[in-house]
Symmetry: C2
Subunit: 371 residues, 2 copies
Amino acid sequence: MTGAPIFPTRRLRTTPFMDRVVENGVSAFTIYNHMFLPVVYNSLEEDAAHLKQYAQIWDVSAERQVQLHGPDARKLAVMMSARDLTNAQPGRCYYAPITNKDGKFINDPVALCLANDLFWFSVADSDLIHWAAGLATGLGLDVQVSEPDVSPLAIQGPMAEDLMADVFGESIRDIKFFRFAQYEFMGRKLNIARSGWSKQGGFEIYLDDFSLGNDLWDAIWAKGAPYNLRAGCPNLIERVEGGLLSLGTDMTSDDTPLNAGLEKFISLDSGHDFIGKDALLAQRDAGGYARLKGLKISGDAAQPVSNPVDCFINGEKVGFITTAVYSPDFKCNLAFAMLDVAAQENGTTVLVTLDNVQREAVVCDIPFLRE
Amino acid sequence: MTGAPIFPTRRLRTTPFMDRVVENGVSAFTIYNHMFLPVVYNSLEEDAAHLKQYAQIWDVSAERQVQLHGPDARKLAVMMSARDLTNAQPGRCYYAPITNKDGKFINDPVALCLANDLFWFSVADSDLIHWAAGLATGLGLDVQVSEPDVSPLAIQGPMAEDLMADVFGESIRDIKFFRFAQYEFMGRKLNIARSGWSKQGGFEIYLDDFSLGNDLWDAIWAKGAPYNLRAGCPNLIERVEGGLLSLGTDMTSDDTPLNAGLEKFISLDSGHDFIGKDALLAQRDAGGYARLKGLKISGDAAQPVSNPVDCFINGEKVGFITTAVYSPDFKCNLAFAMLDVAAQENGTTVLVTLDNVQREAVVCDIPFLRE
């Protein structure tokens, strides 16, 4: 695009941890849910390599929470989520694609069940709050829909657990993946989940008081030296290697969870009813739809793409790349691509042009497997 | 904040005019409705001075359209809008605050009535589409809610009309303020409105084919020399001088149209019913609420603020600045501030600190009047 900077304004919200983010040398941001989200510190490559060895502290405040609270909270959550939340248990997290009546993405949050009448949706980059509030208003449900003062701080990497045990106590090790429990910090009880937007393991701390941002960061930082703790952020290389999809990039409001290959996270074959189910069943029955696949791409390291890049077989367009990045570990360029049926079989070769060089790309599953 | 750049990704959408925007030397962007929006070319001061004399061409694609189409389109539009759209006429635009059931802002779009069963809401920076779709789904309305491929290009400034007449013909002069008509361009019929996010006059061209971006820009550019045409964008100085409010900055989802001083754009005293009306009537009856006011601030030119700045009287906080910028024409810093009752009277002096200097600020009406 261009190196032009972002012009600061109140509309692009700051985070409780921004002082520390800047002090630690953030070098690029994105805007996510109307808020600054760090995306690079040293370089994509250095950040990724560090993340895979040590512990990192991430300002992911931009993962905002949409709170459903009240007698009809569960009813609304169940209706909204393609993942069956009928029996969602307090203390558990659920990756929950949210679709409109056409089965297309509204959001793909992680849902946290805090109590039988209290849910948080930790949202990707779209205003899920308006969808939830619109439904609640239209249906006359008895539920309060709000965005609470909650800003997640993530600790990620293979040394995250040891660090977190030093800060919050040994019991933190007992939290299983996609479960959460409450821990005391400065008189508040913070929800801490074993979760996060990397495949390196770690935790997300749901800070519920903006004014404590520096205190929370500093308390963790003070214990960080043995774990080579650094400021970090969701990393493009690591997320692509691990097969983590980004709404708006890899799938958009034009796509369904079937296009994104998320069959196992949606409940089409149970009695669960949700908005978009009929459309998704019809799409599945009809078949022949585009699917997100992996690509391993030949040639030198290419720059990440910021716009879709077409894929061809015999001169005919068969889809497009949504994300591409060079992986030092895989020693090739990796990409996600939304591909037509003609190109979905693993091992198919398509042609793509990255950095003005035409390259061969071989179709594979997501996540990528090391050979 | 920091000068760190934005990292490009498909999720932050490009526009049909981006090639020309970059060629013309854009120097800062914002992200608005998940899309790049230019906000500075040369400098805020130079851009503003040029805008007030000549003609500028603005990429305002980020003003996305939420389309309501179908038998219940008008019913939904009327229900959503605090401005009474019951008798909205095809060919007319209406500034239409949209509130939730608590009377708080969802968005404040310009509504365009295209036909009795077809409305566009040209939206500020929030996903109004999800609110509209949530209501339609919850209420079971017979209406399609979508975001069409429509990207506005604005021509603004005192010479905009002459330029537009050269490009589209003399009849463009007959379009009255906040009306629109269709004009042919490369085989398409484009809606062109006399509107735009400045007080200098001009037009917005609703391009409905992404692939024609360069063609449309170039066709106008080719006629631009007599009008000293330059690439421009919504300008912070000019919008503050003119009293144009920005959702997310000057008022947020915590505020109502009454807080924002928009009484004349909402229909509280007619038979018009809309979502949020009861809450707004209750707020008005109770009184004593914070209101957005103007401030004229003493001292040297200060940097624009990116976070709220508190306002004090006798050491007590009485509100906060939402936007501040130095105006070369007014020869002082101007600001919008959300002020408590204690500070709302014109002529009240409050203390604020900008650029680490404490300054006196005098409360006045919006828009600012030249003395």
